[in-house]
Each structure stands twice: as structure tokens, then as C-alpha cells.
Amino acid sequence: MDKNKAVITEGLVKHYPVIKGYRELLLHPVSKKQTTALAGVDLEVNKGECFCLLGPNGAGKTTLIKVFSTLVLPNEGKAFVNGLDVEKDSKKIRGSIGFAISEERSFYWRLTGRQNLEFYAALNNIPRSQRKTKVDEVLALTQLEEAVNLRYNTYSTGMRQMLAFARALLIDSQIIFVDEPTRSLDPQAALRVRRFLKEELVSKQGRTVFWATHNLDEAQQYGDRIAIIAKGKIRVIGTVDRLTDGGEISLQEVYAAAMKKGSV
């Protein structure tokens, strides 16, 4: 196992069962219908890089992140995070990654930002004596100190996203997974989030950021490397410079070709 790799996948396959209608259930009670989310993903992400996984809705981005976060189990293939097998070492993996779940409802709305973070700090084995220091530290990092005693339901969408990062940073994880973090943010809030991920987490702190997005500009500007995923397969992977032949073609063209042909 290459110690410089934060993430490695080998032929990763994930099928989801499709729920059958009554008619189908009567006609074919035993047969199983399934849809393929990941169709043999081979991927390597280097430690300390900002890696953007670019693809349309339904391409398999979220599934891939959930496999890395041990929330979804693969059907075939292997996936390693920090050298740990997602199926065999799931507990250790949970102690070594941060997954910034962006779902607004994944926080307790009637609790304050601090109360939410203190709860998750306890669940992440942060001793009581260190809890306040740790929470203060991540709040300072995400610039949420002033909102700390406000209820979560009073937070703006941008603040909620930053609190999701704060939660992911509670454990000293070297890799942070983010799934479309700027999806519903206004331009200014989106810029703040992008800069935080790239400048603070990657450039300053040397962490690995695995960033799923469908925003080409975002990937082009902030990704050290980009992988384009479509229909559960990685179509192209490399630096922006390499993918665009040193600027000879645009990333948009590369993306369109990847979507159209399945490969470029």
C-alpha cells in the first residue's frame, strides 16, 4: 500500500436494489432489479491534495464518498482510506476522516452551534476536558465564534455549511470529504467556502480534501487534480493542465466529451 495515497479504489462496484412495483412483484417475485451507481471505479488520491470529483447528478459522486465514509458498503472491488479497508476497518476509518455532511437537517435545529458541536465531540471520543478547547478551535477556524450561542435554525445556509466543516474537523483527520458544499450558497458564501477548503485546509494545514462537485469552474480553479465521473465510471483524471493539453482545449470540452462518448 502506497503511504502517499489518501484514497485508493480498485474496481469498485456498487449496485442499488430497485424497489419493484406490485405488478412486477406478482410477475417476477424472485428476480432482483438493480441500478448501478459505481461501475468499476479505479482511483488514487494523493495525500495533501485538493482532489475534485466532477460529474453530473447521478454520476456516482455521493455514493463514492459514502463508501469512503463507511455509510455504504460496496458490492465488488476494494476501497482504502488512509491505508485502511472500508469494509474491514470501518471503525478505524471513522476515526481518521472528516465527512462534512451538508444536509441542513443533520444538525439539531433547536440547539446552538456550540451545543451541536459538543454533542458530536463526545461521540467522536474527544475527552470532556478537551472538549471546549477543541470546539473553540474549530469554531475559530470556521469563523463562527460570534454565532456560537445562537440556535442552529437561525443560521444562514453559508453558516450551516461552515458548521458542517467544523463538525468534520472535530477529529484531527488528514482527509476531509465534502459533497457539493457550495450547492445552495450565494456567490459570496460560496467563495468563502471554496477558499476555506483550498487555502485553509489544503494549503495551510496540508490536509487532503476530496471535493465532489458538478461545478466546472470550481473544479478548474481549486482542484489540484480533477477526475470526471459519469455513469459510475471515472472517465478522465489528471491536473487541469494535463486534461486541457496546457490550455489547448477548455475543461468544458473535456467534460462534454467525457459525458458524450463515455471516454476521451
Partner: protein, 269 residues
């Protein structure tokens, strides 16, 4: 760390519940109304004492209040945990809990603590109100006996709650365990009337329900001044249910989580 985590769950739920002030207060008003209703029903029945009530002191009001107060504990625990899991599936909270370094049994027990604590307070309040306002007659209370019955009852009901939550985890809606133990317990568990009045052909089913032993033990402890030795058969039965059901429910819930991870349906509802 385990206790600290449990404390964190409890604190989270207390803070959350306390923020809904009206719901918090109205649940206690409901207790008063229930007690008053049974008080008048008991008054109506006071002239026609049933032989079946004599082992419990002969007073229907005391009999039924113990049943209603403790069956409330059953309902809240059985519906509470599946409700928490379903709500967590719908909101995404479940995923945020499962990516932490906390194991599933701790999440389950932690998530149930507030429900258990709150329903215990409600049960105590129910009894207190019945004694102070409606003149419920208590015997020489066997504190140790009632505590043991209470703890074992909570263990059994929690196990049933975990089984129900497992079903919700996989099938999303429907709660056959809750229905089976909840509705059937109301009819056959001796909540509103002694099981002695049931026809023999159905009475045997009562003995397959933990609540039967729970209510019997609690009535012995509170109403009939029974000794620990006299309550022991009920305690032993409850312990048997708990020892059997708790590990089974944990194994089944773990299986349900793995299945949901395989199906990718942790957040489906």
C-alpha cells in the same frame, strides 16, 4: 467515555425537548385528565367489586392507575425509539451519527435515555397525582422490588423498541413489534383489568408478554405489601425476557444497519 457519551445524548434530548415548552407542559395535563377519567369510572364500579380485583386490594382505581402509568412507559419506549430512528433517517441525522466513533449499541441506548427518563418521570407523576389528588391507596411499598421490576421492564421494552427500530431501518414504515406488544399488551397484559377475567383459551397468551409480569410485579410492590420473595417469580420472568431479548435485538439492529448500508438506504424513508 461510554457514560460521557450517554450523558451527551441525554443532554442533547433534554435541551431539545425543553425548547418545546407547550408540548412538555401539555403531556402532564394529559396525565391529570387520564387520572380523572379513571377515578370516575372507578367510582361508578365501586359498588360491584370483582373477585378478580381482591388480590390487588380490591380497589379498581389503584389497580388501573398502576396499569395505565406503566403501560405509558411501554408505549413511549416502543414507539419512541422507532420514531427517533425514522426521524433520523428522514433528516440525515442518522448518517451524522453513524460516521462518528460511537458504536451502534451506545447510539441506541443513548437515544433512548431521554425517553426512558421522561416516561419514568411521567409514571411517577401519574402515581403521585393519583395518591395526592384522587386518594389512591398504596400498601407498604416494596422499594427494592419496584425498582427491580422497573429496571427489568425498561430493559424488556427497550429491546422491543430496538426490534421495532430494526424493522423501520429496513422497511421504513410499519411497526409490527410495536403493534404486537403495544396493542396486544393493552388487551392481554392486564393494563385495564386483571388477566384472571380473560377466558382460559386466550389467557395463556398473556404469559408470553413481558408487561403481564411487569404490571403484576409492580402492583405487588406498590399495592399489596408483597415481600421480595413473593415478587421474585415476576422479576425472574422479566429477567428472562430481558436476557433473551436485549442481545437478540442488538444483533438484529446491527444486521439491519448492514443491510441498509448494502442497499444504500440509510437515509431512505
Amino acid at each position: 467515555m461510554f457514560l460521557y457519551k450517554l450523558y451527551s445524548f441525554l443532554k442533547r434530548d433534554v435541551l431539545n425537548a425543553a425548547s418545546y415548552k407547550f408540548a412538555f407542559v401539555s403531556s402532564f395535563v394529559g396525565i391529570f385528565l387520564t387520572s380523572a377519567t379513571f377515578y370516575f369510572i372507578a367510582k361508578l364500579l365501586s359498588g360491584s367489586q370483582s373477585e378478580a380485583l381482591s388480590p390487588y386490594g380490591g380497589d379498581y382505581f389503584s389497580f388501573v392507575i398502576v396499569g395505565v402509568a406503566f403501560s405509558g412507559l411501554l408505549g413511549i419506549l416502543q414507539e419512541g425509539l422507532p420514531g427517533i430512528i425514522r426521524s433520523a433517517q428522514m433528516t440525515g441525522i442518522l448518517e451524522s451519527l453513524l460516521v462518528t466513533q460511537t458504536n451502534i449499541p451506545t447510539i441506541l441506548v443513548g437515544s433512548s435515555l431521554y425517553t426512558l427518563a421522561f416516561s419514568s418521570v411521567r409514571t411517577f407523576f401519574h402515581l403521585l397525582l393519583a395518591v395526592a389528588v384522587f386518594g389512591m391507596q398504596l400498601g407498604d411499598i416494596n422499594w427494592l422490588g419496584s425498582l427491580l421490576v422497573f429496571l427489568l421492564t425498561a430493559l424488556c421494552f427497550l429491546s422491543i423498541g430496538i426490534l421495532s427500530a430494526s424493522f423501520i431501518m429496513v422497511y421504513k414504515v410499519g411497526n409490527p413489534f410495536g403493534w404486537l406488544f403495544g396493542s396486544v399488551s393493552g388487551l392481554l397484559g392486564g393494563v385495564f383489568f386483571p388477566i384472571a377475567v380473560l377466558p382460559p383459551w386466550i389467557k395463556w397468551l398473556s404469559y408470553a408478554l413481558p408487561i403481564t409480569y411487569s404490571l403484576e410485579g409492580m402492583r405487588q410492590s406498590l399495592l399489596t405489601s408483597a415481600t421480595l420473595a413473593e415478587i421474585m417469580p415476576n422479576i425472574a420472568a422479566l429477567a428472562g425476557f430481558g436476557i433473551l431479548l436485549f442481545p437478540i435485538s442488538l444483533v438484529i439492529f446491527r444486521w439491519a444497519v448492514v443491510k441498509a448500508k448494502r442497499d444504500g438506504s440509510l437515509t431512505h424513508y
